[in-house]
């Protein structure tokens, strides 16, 4: 038994950022997943979704929910990440000033995604885009 969800994440309206992960969070709660699992999925997907909007002009989110794991794939056609190792560093950020006063641009997004997911894959090519695949396991 699995549930598949698909969301378009628009890049032209910053105020919509975070909507998709909010919906996924609500779904997981309703399905009765452990609060810790819900939290980890919600935060990891949120950070990736925000990144797509801030850094890549939007993209798509595909979520697969299984009883023992949740997988989130975020795909964009933005500029790609030239130096992934640098991007993974805590505090590294190229976010513009106008989103900083909302609390973004702390350079903690990618590090947090890594911290909260059990596996993380970053597939990126400069000029073509980025795909993030994160899996959160339900430990029992």
């Amino acid at each position: 038994m699995n549930i598949k969800l698909h969301y378009d994440v628009p890049g032209d309206d910053f105020t919509r950022a975070g909507e998709a992960s909010g919906l996924v969070k609500r779904k997981l709660k309703q399905l009765g997943f452990e609060p810790d699992v819900v939290r980890r999925v919600a935060i990891a997907m949120y950070e990736g979704e925000i990144n797509m909007v801030i850094h890549a002009g939007g993209g798509e989110a595909d979520v697969e929910i299984l009883p023992d794991r949740v997988t989130v794939v975020l795909t964009d056609h933005g500029p790609g990440i030239p130096d992934v190792e640098q991007a993974m560093q805590e505090g590294w950020s190229t976010a513009p000033d106008n989103v900083r006063s909302l609390g973004f641009g702390a350079g903690m997004g990618l590090p947090n995604i890594k911290k909260y997911s059990d596996t993380l894959e970053i597939d990126t090519k400069v000029g073509e885009g980025t795909a993030l695949t994160m899996t959160i396991l339900v430990k029992g």
Binding site: T15, A17, G18, G22, D97, S101, G103
Partner: protein, 471 residues
């Protein structure tokens, strides 16, 4: 100017019935507690308070309900009125409108739904977050700024004390004020509409209650600016409902399922503290200032056309923003830190302008008009004459601004004298000098009568005894 210019806070409405609502203020005076000290008169940003006959008096027309006097009064004689929970009984369906500042009042809160479910457990039939109204206003402001139809820099109209301050002190800035309803009004409008649709009741049977950190909002609902009538039926103080709400929330923590009611994002919740409204514009070209003294400084700079390059000015009368309001239960800076954490993984925004229908429904229906309550006279010639008199009287005053006369500054006393509301002898320094003059006159008369030389007493430095010396 008639002597009724001074209204004792608590009774002004009874005294002045035809102006009953026009001069309504949340901020009032408890005569029994007032000892006539000068703390409040010195703190008031519009010089709206005088001490007369040992009691503070509020000049109603000038009061902007900023609450500074309530904060500063050491005797708790200055109070801010608000509605009581019992007003809920007057309505068949009751909707709570929590200000986003409410979310910062609780320790260890990690989910806004606890607060909203707690409100329902307290007796409200539904909740409608003011943060939703805020996000709609943010969206509308972004549009208006983009369309270039507003006079820049645009000054936020969300803080009712700031709008009232501009209205009485900064005539040139009135047309810079954002002509949009405040988030509370927008939320109230939408909440009533939703409740009517949901219940089939008539609009009057629905009670809309703002849960406020702010005293000026009480006034803003009774005597609104920009709209003819407020959609809010009552304003409850957060500090007043707080104990009851916390106990309901603690009970909720024991059970598991919460009704998902929260529908606000980073932008809406952020309006609770200074900088939040400006950040919601996604535009770096702004300034945000808090605390009434800082607000006045910025307004003065704006008046001098020194900040022309900015697009938007956010001003909050309370330090820290709305979380610093006098009805808040928690220290404003603590509340602000909690809200920063609480909003972290929220969507950027959950509401937009379309949710309100159209821009029309958000716009002010009445322009902000300058209220010249500080004006000396109706025409310039009279005013110039009075000004000259004031200057002349001022010269004779000690310029200590001590407040002992009951006016905040020597100049304010001079103005009061010219207006026929005070006398020069209200100044204790003037009075002392006059007594000295009279005393020396008396002694001159006395010595003249006795045909003696005048005598002067002098303390001798080393001897320590008073000596006498012929002149």
């Amino acid at each position: 100017m008639p002597a009724s210019f001074f209204h004792p806070g608590g009774e002004m409405m009874a005294e002045n019935r035809e102006n009953k609502t026009r001069f309504f203020h949340s901020v009032t005076l408890d005569k029994d507690l007032c000892v006539g000290c000068t703390n409040c008169i010195k703190r008031c940003p519009t010089q709206a308070i005088r001490v007369r006959d040992g009691q503070a008096w509020i000049i109603s027309e000038r009061c902007i309900d900023c609450g500074e006097c309530v904060r500063v009064c050491p005797h708790h004689a200055k109070k801010a009125r608000h509605d009581e929970l019992s007003v809920l009984e007057d309505y068949r369906y009751r909707v709570a409108l929590p200000a986003p500042a409410l979310y910062g009042q609780f320790n260890h809160l990690d989910d806004i739904d606890f607060v909203l479910n707690g409100l329902k457990a307290m007796g409200f039939d539904d909740v409608f977050e003011v943060a939703r109204g805020a996000e709609i206003v943010s969206d509308a402001t972004r549009q208006l700024l983009m369309d270039g139809k507003l006079k820049k820099p645009v000054i936020s109209s969300a803080c009712p004390a700031v709008v009232r301050l501009i209205r009485v002190r900064f005539p040139d800035l009135c047309e810079h004020v954002l002509p949009l309803k405040a988030p509370m009004e927008v939320a109230a409008m939408l909440a009533r509409k939703a409740a009517v649709e949901k219940t089939g009741l008539s609009p009057e049977e629905i009670g809309i209650f703002f849960l406020s950190p702010c005293a000026a909002k009480v006034t803003d609902v009774k005597v609104p600016i920009g709209v003819e009538r407020s959609n809010v039926d009552g304003v409850l103080a957060i500090s007043d409902i707080y104990p009851r709400l916390v106990s309901k929330m603690n009970k909720l923590a024991e059970q598991k399922a919460l009704e998902p009611l929260a529908h606000s994002g980073i932008i809406g919740v952020g309006w609770s503290s200074i900088g939040g409204e400006a950040a919601g514009l996604l535009n770096e070209n702004h300034l945000a200032a808090d605390g009434i003294d800082n607000v006045i400084k910025v307004l003065e700079e704006l008046e001098d056309e020194k900040l022309q390059e900015l697009d938007f000015i956010e001003l909050n009368a309370c330090a820290g923003g709305c979380v610093g309001g006098i009805f808040a239960a928690e220290n404003g800076y603590v509340a602000r830190a909690r809200i920063q954490r609480l909003r972290k993984y929220l969507p950027v925004s959950c509401s937009r302008m379309e949710d309100a229908g159209s821009m029309d429904s958000l716009e002010w229906t009445q322009p902000l008009e300058f209220a010249p309550v500080m004006k000396l006279a109706e025409n310039v010639e009279d005013a110039m004459r009075l000004m000259a008199e004031i200057d002349e009287i001022c010269e004779r005053l000690p310029q200590l601004d001590c407040g002992s006369c009951g006016a905040p500054t020597c100049r304010a006393l001079a103005e009061d004298i010219v207006r026929g509301l005070a006398r020069e002898n209200d100044c204790i320094f003037r009075m002392r000098r006059q007594i000295q003059d009279i005393a020396s006159q008396l002694s001159r008369i006395d010595s003249g009568l006795r045909g003696e030389e005048s005598i002067r007493y002098r303390w001798q430095k080393n001897g320590g005894n008073a000596g006498q010396e012929g002149k």
